[in-house]
């Protein structure tokens, strides 16, 4: 393998890893929007909370996995509580009030984070058995944890695909994203599906934050960066489409990574150029239905 090829391979791996992680956040966002019709600006805050939770718990338990095992149920409970208290009164109201309320929620969650964990930048240790790098070439290596991260995200994506494709719940979710009124009139308890979907979305975003924590740093405002990029993913993929979110996330991850290498002056722009190009070509996104949303 030549140096150039190894370098290229590393960048592809980086892009794919960034994309897969984004998929975990964006899939919840697209489901919540597609099925419940809720624009949730606070979705990125769950990513941030996940990272901070695992930071706090890992320094307590000393182990990433136990921290995640404790934090995921906490995230689910948070999701259920928020749905019951804040989101439920918004069903059927103008989207703009959802935008306003979830914007308020961003501020509240950001300050709760500040009160509980402070405003410092933190790191979470990579688990010992993954704390090594795979040599690709004399000077080029790839950290094992990042590879593991991609594999884990792929496994979760696979589990989601199975859930949505083969289970009764998945069937109801698919039906709900196609035609909400019809599902309701067929006697499926849509309120229950809303609850599950919202809690699932919160848990996925938080989980993404948890497993990303050892690979990146944990810092205030990390949720907002992810939120905007996740929206880009959702819009590129088509609102409500899991398949679209998957493809969109990979495209965004790769475009971002390669943008930083080939057009460093304009690196932040690449994903937005990609999004604008996709939307001008297909206004409803890659897998969106025309007229939906």
């Amino acid at each position: 393998m030549s140096d150039g090829l190894a370098f290229f391979l590393i960048q592809v791996l980086n892009g794919v890893q960034e994309g897969l992680l984004l998929f975990l956040v964006a899939s919840g966002l697209t489901l919540v929007f597609g099925i419940m019709g809720i624009i949730n600006l606070a979705h990125g805050s769950f990513y941030m909370l996940g990272a901070y939770l695992v930071y706090a718990l890992a320094s307590f338990t000393g182990d990433l996995w136990t921290a995640i095992l404790i934090a995921v149920p906490l995230a689910i409970v948070l999701g259920l509580a928020l749905e019951a208290l804040l989101i439920r009164p918004l069903y059927g109201r103008d989207h703009l009030y959802q935008v306003l309320l979830t914007y308020g929620l961003i501020l509240v969650l950001e300050e709760i984070r500040s009160l509980l964990f402070g405003d410092d930048v933190h790191g979470v240790a990579v688990p010992a058995f993954l704390d090594f790098s795979i040599p690709l070439k004399d000077a080029l290596t790839y950290p094992a944890y990042r590879l593991f991260l991609s594999a884990l995200c792929l496994a979760i994506a696979g589990a989601m695909w199975w859930l949505i494709r083969y289970t009764r719940l998945g069937m109801a979710i698919r039906a709900g994203s196609t035609n909400r009124e019809m599902v309701q009139s067929l006697g499926i308890d849509i309120a229950w599906i809303y609850r599950v979907v919202f809690a699932l979305g919160v848990a996925l975003a938080a989980l993404a934050g948890m497993i990303a924590a050892p690979a990146a740093s944990v810092f205030p405002g990390m949720g907002n960066d992810v939120l905007i990029v996740s929206f880009v993913v959702v819009v590129i993929g088509g609102i409500g489409s899991i398949k679209g979110a998957f493809l969109g996330a990979l495209l965004v991850g790769l475009a971002d990574t390669f943008g930083q290498i080939y057009v460093p002056q304009l690196s932040g722009m690449t994903i937005y150029v990609l999004m604008a190009a996709v939307l001008l070509w297909r206004p409803a996104g890659l897998f969106g239905r025309a007229g939906a949303g």
Partner: protein, 316 residues
């Protein structure tokens, strides 16, 4: 009857704002000037959100263009002429709005929210990468624009009261222009588009042209607000184009009550004053602000403007 009362209240509010410099010190003059600039910005967005049904999440782009235009037009250590630089800044924002509008108006609904965001973020990152525009550090404007015309200087913008009155005049002009626009035939066509665009198209309205015109007017006024902001603070940074500011101004419009114009002014006053008051009380001021927004959505279905109207009805 109600229209008459509305006019009385607005005139009273204007009179209070006009008398304010007689009572207040420099700090409050500057704070109120800042609020009024945000109110101009919010009203321009209300034309899109409240009257045309176009929810833009990238409106800060035009605010930022107005601000950077003043930087580009100002000689480094001398004043730009207000009478040249202001129209040029507004024109730059309008041209940008026309170009961006042509592209983003292909999208609708939620896509529109995101596409407007995408274009604003593109500009944001363009400025971050641009050396001439100062990149992420921002740029300083050392000398405020001069109001001298043929040797006569009506007000100096270096004096807080002078600048305050310029902003107040801009606020009143913006309100009157937008009131005229929204009450005209054109404005009624926009309302028609908001409630049912395909019906308007079937009636023979070239709806896209109407929406584009609204987008350009809103962009131009946002440029005016950005120009005033750059004048006030003498500092322009990419944050002025960022999604946070776009979000903040959208919150002002929704919180104040969409489609009323004065609701946006109210939203700007409430949000900026709350921010300012809460930062004095606690370092964790975002928490009460966030709770306030959440409670406002849950308890006030039609914004603060709706609350005013309800109080008025109870009074009758």
């Amino acid at each position: 009857m109600q229209a008459a009362r509305e006019r009385t209240m607005l005139l009273a509010a204007f009179a209070l704002l006009a008398l304010f410099p007689l009572l207040a010190g420099t700090f409050y003059l500057q704070l109120f000037a800042k609020i009024m600039i945000m109110a101009i910005f919010a009203m321009s967005l209300d034309l899109l959100v409240g009257y045309t049904g176009l929810v833009s999440f990238g409106h800060a782009a035009f605010f930022g263009i107005g601000a950077y235009a003043l930087f580009v037009l100002s000689p480094q250590y001398a004043a730009a002429s207000l009478y040249l630089s202001l129209p040029m800044a507004i024109g730059a924002a309008a041209v940008a709005a026309a170009v961006i509008g042509l592209l983003v108006l292909r999208a609708s609904g939620v896509s529109f929210i995101m596409v407007t965001l995408a274009f604003a973020q593109m500009l944001f990152y363009y400025v971050i990468g641009s050396k001439t525009l100062g990149g992420s550090d921002g740029v300083y404007i050392y000398v405020k624009p001069s109001t001298t015309l043929f040797g006569w200087t009506p007000v100096s913008l270096d004096r807080p009261a002078g600048f305050y009155y310029l902003v107040l005049a801009a606020l009143a002009a913006t309100y009157l222009v937008l009131r005229f626009v929204t009450r005209s035939l054109f404005g009624h066509a926009l309302l028609g588009i908001r409630s049912n665009e395909s019906r308007m198209r079937a009636l023979g309205f070239a709806t896209t042209s109407y929406k584009l015109a609204a987008f350009v007017i809103a962009g131009a006024i946002a440029g005016l607000a950005g120009y005033l902001d750059a004048t006030q603070f003498g500092f322009v940074s990419p944050d002025l184009l960022g999604w946070r500011l776009s979000g903040e101004v959208l919150m002002m419009v929704i919180l104040g009550g969409m489609g009323t114009l004065y609701g946006s002014v109210l939203g700007a006053f409430v949000l900026v004053l709350l921010q300012d008051g809460l930062t004095d009380v606690t370092r964790h001021w975002l928490l009460p602000l966030g709770l306030f927004i959440i409670l406002a959505v849950l308890l006030l279905p039609r914004g603060l403007g709706g609350l005013l109207r309800r109080a008025e009805k109870a009074h009758d």
